[in-house]
Amino acid sequence: MNKALELFLGILTAVGGFVEIGELTFSLNAGRRFGYSLLWVVVLGTVGIVCYCEMAGRVAAVRKQPVFHLIRERAGLTAGLVTLLAANLVNLMTCAAEIGGIALIWQTMSGWPYRPLIVAAFVVLALAMWFLSFEWIERVFGLLGLFMVVFIAAAVHSGPDWGAVAAGLVPGLPQGDAGSGLALYAYYGVALLSSIMLPYETYFYASGAIEDRWTAKDINLNRIIVIVGSGVGSLLAVALISAGVEVLAPRGIEAELPGTAALAAATAFGKWGLLAALVGMLFAFAGAAIETAFSAAYNLGQFFGWPWGKFRPPRQAARFHGAWLVVLLLSTLLILSGLDPVDVVEYSIVFAVVTLPFTYFPLLVIAADRRVMREHANGKLANGLGWLFLAITTLAALAAIPLLVITHGGKG
């Protein structure tokens, strides 16, 4: 395929796949509680995910080694196994929340009952994962997820206080809900960072680089897709924070349902805005459900050395294909049991941050190793940022669960 077209589609799919139900919920509620004062976390998280996805893509392109292969090799069997279990638990919870989110949105579009829609979501996702090629899965769900740009248009339409937006880019103490306290501010900061740097994004991206048969020649393509795709994608998170500030805060509404976000788009653009928001969220959540289910199967295959990859037919990689199907099924059962998708995602986001340093450390070590990566090893900037974000994610991992407990799950 033409390189320019590949680059263009890669960027668009990265933008369309940037937001999932966790980021949606935390961005809206961060804006509703703290105004624009957590915008700097979006910038920080975006630089972090760019830094580590670029490394993961580069290592995959040069060494053909995805993330869990490195974790097994560098952290050893026991520590690696604990990381695998934690990462796949987070994948399972995230996938369950996305399936619940899909059913809730589908219900508001069709009027059909919620529980059968959970089952329908499972069937549609399983069929798409089974029959569509990796390339088409990325395109269909990533490109249709782009309807979420309606939130960027709605944010501009709402006429935000640009001075407050600019001030929010500088780290500082909370504005807005003054009674909430620093612990709550820190909780939202950690959760927002986690929702942007979700570990499955790195697993999926590196595995996808191998699925797409990238080589060292694709390193620049990797860099541009990650930087532009994540950079533009982060504008969606900024727009959702803006919706929290401009639409939810004045009305005293905490976002508990995906439909709440759609109302923000409806306020700006009426029924067409509502429809665009619902379609965008539907495909963005579906894309995230597919990515998390595949990520869990990739992690298992890479850790245990099974043949893995969507490019391999089921007869050649039976355990890989069986694993994603089982993860998808378990996630569906979890949501069918009556758990609230937004409650599930709140826990999955907090536990996700705990797995980040365990995922990033082996990746950083190998990406910096000149004996292994030769001329493609990290330069000074990548190394500096890598160590900085390892320190930041380690601090966030240590603080995440205590903050969850202290703030009553972010309620106050």
Binding site: E73, R74, A75, G76, T78, A79, V82, T83, L104, Q107, T108, M109, S110, G111, G179, R251, G252, I253, E254, E256, L257, G259, T260, A262, L263, A266, T267, G270, K271, G273, L274, L275, L278, D340, V354, P357, F358, F361, P362, V365, D369, T394, A397, L398, I401, P402, V405, I406, H408, K411, G412
Partner: protein, 155 residues
């Protein structure tokens, strides 16, 4: 490097687990004094207030014609479903049922629930939407005052 990776897991994992356990133990050991109870109650009342306010917002958007009939009906029923949980916690919570604020919160929450159910069954006519918006707005206002009073008691 293999050793460094192992060392990394050896200190960081237990430290995260230890901090998590310590915070849970601290929470469990915290006394159930009136201020703590008021804080917990304020959170539950705050959830009811937020859902009532969202119902009002939905009804107002329905009046403006910016949402489809199906969205109006289904989103109202999703909010009503979510409202059951804090309402039940208020009814069965650890605070004393005879306290005036408990009953006031339950009454306001029940009025919101009734208005949301009406919104879910609404035929889309403007007077019905106006009625629902007014009822939900009134409940949200009452719950907001109750929440503020509980917040003050929790300090």
């Amino acid at each position: 490097m293999h050793k460094r990776g192992k060392l990394w897991g050896l200190w960081l994992g237990p430290l995260i687990g230890g901090l998590a356990l310590a915070s849970v133990a601290h929470r469990l050991a915290a006394p159930s004094d009136p201020a703590t109870l008021a804080k917990k109650a304020a959170i539950v009342v705050g959830e009811l207030r937020s859902l009532s306010a969202e119902g009002r917002f939905l009804a107002e958007e329905g009046q403006r014609g910016t949402v489809t009939r199906v969205f109006l009906r289904e989103h109202a029923s999703q909010i009503a479903k979510d409202l059951h949980s804090p309402l039940d916690r208020l009814r069965r919570g650890e605070w004393h049922a005879s306290q005036a604020w408990t009953q006031a919160g339950i009454d306001s929450g029940a009025r919101s629930l009734a208005a949301l159910q009406e919104l879910a069954d609404v035929d889309g006519s403007s007077p019905a939407l106006q009625r629902a918006a007014a009822a939900l707005g009134a409940s949200a206002g009452e719950l907001s005052r109750l929440e503020q009073s509980l917040e003050q008691r929790s300090r």
